[in-house]
Symmetry: C2
Subunit: 151 residues, 2 copies
DNA sequence: TCCCTATACTTCGCTCGGGCAACTATTCAC
DNA sequence: GTGAATAGTTGCCCGAGCGAAGTATAGGGA
């Protein structure tokens, strides 16, 4: 595979530009189809809160890559569904600490498992080496698109 | 890079599940920020019509991966903006042939160039071999998520 | 102390994306 | 020619997303 092939930035951009939306569409419909459906941004917000409980709204918004108002409303929905808790912080009462409820943790796990299972099914047709190539590529790409994630 | 590393379907799924939304977010904001902004689905519809003029609504919807009503409304917007033409077909008057207008072609080209340029900038930091690895990975992944594209 | 700015979020108004259900128009099959 | 299938559109609803404006709290001078 890597017999010193080369690719220009443009080729690379073209490949990513064509493929990424394809994958996203699949992820979106997959997550929608589950009972207890989640949108992709909702899933990402839950996943972030799973990793970093007591995050501020700003942190979540920055990580997911949306504006503050958008994230505020997204969290509204999750709070209404009982998946997320808003807890005002004592030392700085402007801030709100967001955390998953136990229902939220369960839902996240369920959607994560189901989605991963379905994707795994697709990747099962590839060889282990091909899958490794994909994992490696993702590891190359990720940092290019990650938000600084200060803190 | 490919010294016979291996990866399970689950690892692969996990990598794709984490990375893809990250890229999409970037693509979306990029396309939104241009004058003559496009959403990603709008862009994909235009790109498809650029490759296959006189397509039916169903074909576009299937390719982009949305329902018929969604695509109908998306096309509405593009028609209103003068980027796409609806031409009823003579032999089967239920069908509508969709094509780009010259404005549509220009807009598509502009957005495509701008987006590719921006992505290229990101990928410029990688080595040519790394970029080739990404291109290869995309070629592996694409067919797994592509819609049959009958016809 | 009082005021003034900055920060953290929320609310408002709006547009687009997306799906389901129901409808119209046309074609096809018998 | 009537009934079923096909191609699209419309209505209704919800969620995503932004900018602008509003609220509440914190911090920094004079």
């Amino acid at each position: 595979m890597a017999t010193e092939r080369r690719a220009t930035p443009e080729e690379c951009a073209r490949a990513v530009l064509e493929t990424t939306p394809l994958i996203m569409q699949s992820l979106r419909t997959q997550m929608r189809s589950l009972r207890g459906a989640l949108s992709v941004p909702q899933f990402r917000a839950l996943a972030f809160l799973g990793r970093r409980p007591r995050s501020s709204l700003s942190d979540v918004a920055q990580h997911v890559g949306t504006s503050l108002p958008s994230m505020s409303k997204l969290i509204d929905g999750l709070v209404t569904r009982g998946m997320v808790e808003r807890v005002p912080e004592a030392d700085d009462r402007r801030r709100v600490a967001l955390s998953l409820t136990s229902d939220g943790r369960r839902l996240l796990q369920m959607v994560y498992d189901a989605t991963r299972a379905r994707l795994s099914g697709l990747f099962a047709d590839l060889s282990a080496a091909e899958r490794a190539a994909i994992v490696d590529a993702m590891k190359l790409v990720s940092p290019l698109f990650s938000v600084p994630t200060s803190t």
